[in-house]
């Protein structure tokens, strides 16, 4: 077992033109803990993913190892030590 493994967060390419969100290894046992640590390192990214009540924005989606998380409200889904977390946006239409 690799005891040095930590979760990694990747962000949708769409967000990069607004704010740089490099791939980054973070600590955290849940999705929220992992995201909070990422945003502590990259505070400008926070408002693009969370709203002002620290809720996941409506059309953002989070996957852990390819599976969409279950708890969008609390972001309490546990993450494996070597998980890869993807933060993407739904590419729904609009004007």
């Amino acid at each position: 077992m690799d005891f040095t493994a930590v979760p990694t967060i990747r962000f949708t390419q769409n967000i990069q033109r607004h704010v740089a969100c490099p791939v980054r290894a973070v600590a955290g046992g849940t999705i929220r803990e992992a995201l909070e640590q990422y945003f502590s390192l990259h505070p400008q990214a926070r408002g693009y993913v969370f709203d002002d009540q620290s809720r996941l924005r409506e059309h953002m989606a989070v996957f852990a190892d390819g599976k969409q998380i279950q708890d969008r409200g609390g972001l309490s889904d546990p993450v494996a030590m070597d998980a890869v977390i993807d933060v993407i946006q739904a590419l729904s239409g609009g004007l």
Binding site: D51, D52, S54, M60, Q89
Partner: protein, 372 residues
């Protein structure tokens, strides 16, 4: 006479400049992005742009070089909603979400308070910045007033503050307009607030409530800078005017083809002069008979002139949103833009109009650069 004008649209921010050859588009910023509002600060030249990125939320940017470069600044942030908070009087059965939905009004503070900006939002919060937009604070006095919970959306899912009039004689005296929540006034810089006086009328409410100040739907409020007690309202229900600083309102009838519309501009020096852009009320919202017209009164609403020279008079379906009409410092130069991407400018008070473009994205806001 104004030399520059900024036009916020669904697909970017357009800057117009006046030269000997006339007005033309000189710069485009945020190309492709949803720029919902722009403000020019005459005290220091700052430009503030509000963007709504949809999935990524509402963002604010500031330019200190006339729009050539922009930097993201803080967006207004609602405080955390208390876990035990229970709304007492929500008209539509649920409390407003304590979360920024849209920046709907931006205004500089007084000439004697550099750096102060005011920002009106959906779902009804008024924010103040003391540092040119680097940070924002929710005005709790207005937000925590239980009567605020009675506000409701007028066409949007949330109530919102769309008009902010800072009295040039006293920057602590501010009047804000809310759809739907009427007009509210502070005389102490936002420490206390009261609804404006009576006179506005809302046909859409039950008869016994039609004159309640707190349920009115002013679409836009404009103040005469030389006579700040004179205020004009383009209301959902018609046109209203106050000559006593919003302590009372008088309904003005007679404008043709309708008194419905969204935008109003007040002459900066002549309290009897204002401009309106009528539309068919109220669900359909298009120019009557496909004719774009501007209504001007020069006698405090006793009569209106319908101005049409240079404007399309057949098969035009341009609707003009509440922030998409402006008048410059002189009162002679006006501009307005439409939902179908037309933009017109007049340099003689609206008598004649020049088409600047018929192919812009939907226009949300038009703002001249003005002097301090």
């Amino acid at each position: 006479m104004a030399q520059r004008c900024h036009v916020a649209t669904r697909k970017g921010l357009f800057t117009l400049e006046r030269s000997e050859a006339g007005w033309s588009i000189r710069n485009v910023g945020f190309t492709g992005d949803n720029c919902t509002l722009v403000m020019h600060d005459p005290r220091n030249g700052d430009l503030i742009a509000a963007l709504h990125h949809g999935h990524f939320g509402v963002k604010m940017h500031r330019s200190r070089d006339g729009g050539l470069s922009w930097h993201e600044i803080a967006a207004p942030k609602y405080p955390e909603k208390p876990a035990d908070y229970v709304a007492k009087n929500p008209v539509e059965g649920k409390a407003a979400d304590w979360s920024l939905k849209l920046v709907w009004a931006l205004a500089p503070g007084g000439a004697d308070e550099p750096g102060v900006l005011w920002c009106g939002t959906l779902p009804g919060g008024l924010f103040r910045s003391g540092d040119g937009g680097d940070s924002w604070e929710l005005n709790r006095a207005l937000w925590d007033d239980p009567r605020r919970e009675e506000w409701f959306g007028g066409g949007a899912d949330h109530p919102g503050i769309h008009s902010i009039c800072v009295d040039p004689r006293d920057c602590r005296h501010i009047t804000v307009g809310i759809s739907c929540g009427g007009a509210w006034i502070t005389r102490d810089g936002g420490q206390t607030w009261q609804p404006s006086g009576p006179g506005m009328r809302a046909e859409y409410m039950p008869p016994e409530r039609q004159y309640e100040p707190n349920i009115q739907d002013p679409h836009c409020i404009a103040q005469c800078l030389a006579d700040p007690d004179t205020m004009w309202v383009q209301h959902h229900n018609g046109i209203f005017r106050s000559t006593d600083g919003a302590n009372s309102w008088a309904e003005i009838a007679g404008a043709q083809p309708s008194t419905f519309g969204f935008a109003v501009a007040a002459h900066p020096r002549e309290p009897g002069t204002a401009w309106f852009i009528p539309a068919v009320k109220d669900e359909k919202r298009y120019p009557a008979d496909g004719r774009v017209v501007v209504n001007r009164t020069r006698d405090a609403g006793a009569s209106f002139e319908m101005l049409t020279r240079g404007l399309p008079q057949q098969h035009a379906y341009d609707l003009v949103y509440r922030h998409a009409l402006d008048v410059d410092d002189s009162g002679e130069v006006l501009a307005f833009g439409s939902t179908t991407g037309s933009l017109w400018i007049s340099e003689n008070g609206g008598d004649d109009w020049e088409t600047i473009s018929s192919n812009l994205p939907p226009v949300y806001a038009v703002r001249f650069e003005k002097s301090a």
